[in-house]
């Protein structure tokens, strides 16, 4: 468009008649322009603006491309990283489990697994034949079925050896591949079986601490496919592998010696509630989890509930002492068996006289304990046991736990029998927690399998009895090791205090005289308690050297003594000799300091 045209368009001039036709055309032209672009528009400026717009749009386009290039260059490992991680598509790494000093209890090892993509296999018969030649233990019929299936992915064999892997690789079969998988191994075998539990073939925890790990976030990681690396923090437990071994070794020997059905033991740090060792034999090898299915191999300490026998007298006496109404020298009538309705409560070693409270404990008098509980009343008895956590299910990190069996209608008879540990079945770990509270100055602390400092424990603890009561209980425990039923466990130097328990098991609806559950609870050292030990023997048999006795003092107590002698140095308890007897060391200092 020339300037002249524009002049025509903008400034209408009178046209000579000869140019009328042309003028008519240009007028129409002008009208069209006016309609299209509007009147008085500088089309040059408009064009410039349009060009700028186009430049801007193209510029933006190139900027985006350049930006993408820069991001590609800046993050080069994006696709490389992904390529590396497809090698372990099965993302099931688990953190290592260590004991309190860093010994490995459970760890992951990489092992190749064999898989097939059936739609890519050309000759099923050939593949079956060649694979069976390398892996003779594979069922050929099943293998053929799997290879001929229409699925896109099938596992052929989990966890093969590197040699087999190399041989299969050399066969050059299409559609056959390997995936490195994490395989859980427990280098210590049966040593810590009940405690750490085990995993299934897909590396998911199905028992013990392994299950707890899954519950506390690991399962979600597995589902999201993020648990690929070994960089997960290892989990440190409170258990000490050396102590665990010593306890297990002694329990196995005791189980053989006394021909017991089962034996169990637990060591708890009194002030923190940490479980330093927990053994229940027969146990199983977590590397072979099928053994765990045998009902005889259950963890008797958490999954079983038992009538704890005379061990419960400690709770009864603590209740009486804590009330302030009864002191160590209060006397109770144990001259004749206690009659209640048609029931009669006997003592196993009748003294036939009035007994003081300390004698009730050291002679383990059922009549005395029953009278103590009756003096306190049913409601208070129940409330005290409730306060000590004996009536509710105890939950720890372990998924396995058992509900205590509490009488539905708790009458005087129940109080009488529960006073000496019959008629109320609790998990042994639960009883240990209650007795810990009696020993450590009166703090009830939930036991844990993880490490815990004293400050943390104190924050969790609830006070259940007075510190003076705890001193008196420790005095009674020590007295029992000096003159009572726990003499055989008084390892010199460790100032052991202990209480025995022999409970008759219910068999065919009545208490049986020759099926007993023996227990022994020891605190060491009794003047400044650090650890509590519980030994349990299920149905020990009388031996010539036990003079035909099957009560706890003849089997559980000597076992406890052997365990203490072995375990105390490992726990860092320094032996002290020439210590005063309990009434001077514990009782005197207790009254002097308060």
């Amino acid at each position: 468009m020339t300037p002249i045209d524009r002049a025509h368009a903008l400034v209408p001039v009178p046209f000579p008649p000869a140019q009328a036709a042309k003028a008519k055309g240009s007028w129409r032209h002008a009208l069209l322009r006016t309609l299209l672009y509007g009147r008085n528009v500088d089309r040059a400026a408009k064009t410039k603006a349009r060009l700028r717009l186009a430049i801007l749009v193209f510029g933006l386009g190139y900027a985006v491309i350049a930006g993408r290039l820069i991001t590609f260059a800046a993050v080069p490992e994006g696709h490389l990283g992904r390529r590396a991680s497809t090698q372990d598509a099965v993302a099931t790494a688990r953190p290592d489990i260590l004991d309190r000093y860093g010994e490995i209890l459970a760890t992951d090892v990489r092992a190749p697994s064999l898989f097939a993509e059936p739609n890519r296999i050309i000759d099923v018969d050939e593949a079956t034949e060649l694979l069976s030649s390398v892996l003779p233990d594979l069922d050929a019929v099943e293998l053929r079925e799997r290879l001929a299936s229409k699925r896109r992915f099938v596992w052929l064999k989990r966890d093969i050896t590197p040699k087999q892997r190399a041989e299969i690789y050399r066969l050059g079969l299409p559609g056959i591949g390997f995936l490195p998988e994490n395989k859980r191994v427990y280098p210590n075998g049966a040593e810590v079986s009940h405690l750490i539990g085990h995993v299934n073939i897909d590396n998911q925890g199905i028992a013990g601490i392994e299950k707890w790990l899954d519950g506390s976030g690991l399962a979600d990681l597995h589902l999201a496919g993020l648990a690929t690396d070994r960089l997960q923090e290892p989990v440190k437990l409170a258990v000490d592998l050396r102590v665990q071994h010593a306890l297990r070794d002694e329990l196995m020997k005791a189980r053989d010696k006394y021909k017991a059905k089962a034996a169990a033991g637990i060591i708890v740090a009194v002030r923190t509630g940490e479980i330093v060792s927990m053994v229940s034999v027969p146990d199983y090898d977590p590397n072979n989890p099928r053994e765990a299915l045998d009902p005889n191999r259950i963890n008797r300490l958490t999954t079983g509930v038992y009538e704890m026998g005379s061990t419960f007298k400690a709770l009864t006496l603590a209740m009486a002492l804590d009330s302030g109404k009864i002191n160590l020298n209060s006397t109770f009538d144990a001259r004749v068996p206690l009659h209640f309705g048609k029931f009669e409560i006997h003592d196993s070693h009748p003294e036939g006289r009035f007994l003081t409270l300390s004698e009730v404990f050291t002679y383990s008098s059922n009549i005395g304990a029953a009278r103590v509980a009756l003096a306190m009343g049913v409601d208070q008895h129940k409330a005290f046991l409730k306060k000590l956590g004996q009536l509710d299910r105890l939950r720890t990190e372990l998924p396995e736990s058992a509900e205590p069996i509490v009488p539905r209608h708790w009458g005087e008879l129940n109080t009488i029998t529960i006073a000496f540990g019959h008629g109320l079945s609790v998990a042994p770990l639960q009883a240990v927690m209650g007795i810990c509270a009696l020993m450590n100055g009166g703090y009830l602390i939930a036991p844990t399998f993880l490490q815990r400092s004293e400050e943390q424990a104190r924050a969790l603890a609830t006070r259940v009895i007075k510190p003076e009561t705890s001193d008196k209980m420790r005095y009674l425990m020590r007295l029992n090791a000096e003159k009572g039923t726990a003499r055989q466990a008084d390892v010199p130097g460790y100032y052991v205090g202990g209480k025995t328990g022999t409970s008759e098991k219910v068999f065919g609806g009545r208490y049986s005289k020759d099926r007993v559950l023996n227990s022994f609870t020891a605190v060491l050292p009794a003047d400044d308690p650090r650890y509590l030990l519980l030994i349990m023997l299920d149905e020990p048999q009388p031996l010539p050297e036990t003079h035909g006795f099957r009560t706890s003092g003849w089997n559980a107590v000597p076992t406890g003594g052997l365990v203490i002698g072995r375990v105390a140095p490992l726990l860092g308890i320094q032996p002290r000799f020439d210590l005063l007897p309990a009434d001077q060391l514990i009782l005197a200092t207790s009254t002097a300091s308060r």
């Binding site: 260059a73 490389l80 010994e103 760890t107 992951d108 090892v109 040593e191 070794d249 010199p492 002698g565």
Partner: protein, 125 residues
């Protein structure tokens, strides 16, 4: 003038292209190296885990106890075998050199010995 500028630009273009190619090539090589190292590290990690598992299997107390019982004549420790440090006797004076002419004189000079005899730690006070 414009032609000269064009030539310069073309030369610069080729130089830039060559440079970018070299950088790209180098970075690919480095990236592969990184990937290979990562893989090596992964294998090393796996090997370490394997060895640690084997080690703790060998270090297992059950096995150690069996070996000790079979090959050693050690017995279980008794609590009486422990003794606290303050029961340890004082360190005796150094023995005089063997060829000294006056051993007793050396002993008296060399150390700050208050008496000629060394007090027994458990002597009654």
């Amino acid at each position: 003038m414009i032609r000269l500028l064009n030539i310069c630009v073309i030369v610069a273009l080729f130089a830039a292209a060559a440079y970018v190619y070299r950088v790209k090539f180098e970075s690919t090589r480095k990236a592969e190296q990184v990937a290979r190292l990562r893989l090596d590290i992964r294998h090393e990690h796996d090997a370490i885990a394997d060895l640690r598992a084997q080690w703790s299997k060998l270090d297992n107390p059950i096995r150690i106890q069996e070996l000790a019982q079979r090959h050693l004549t050690l017995r279980m420790i008794d609590s009486k075998q422990f003794d606290p440090l303050d029961h340890l006797p004082e360190r005796p004076a150094d023995a005089p050199p063997p060829n000294s002419p006056d051993p007793i004189g050396n002993l008296l000079e060399g150390r700050d010995v208050p008496t000629a005899s060394i007090a027994s730690p458990r002597s009654p006070k």
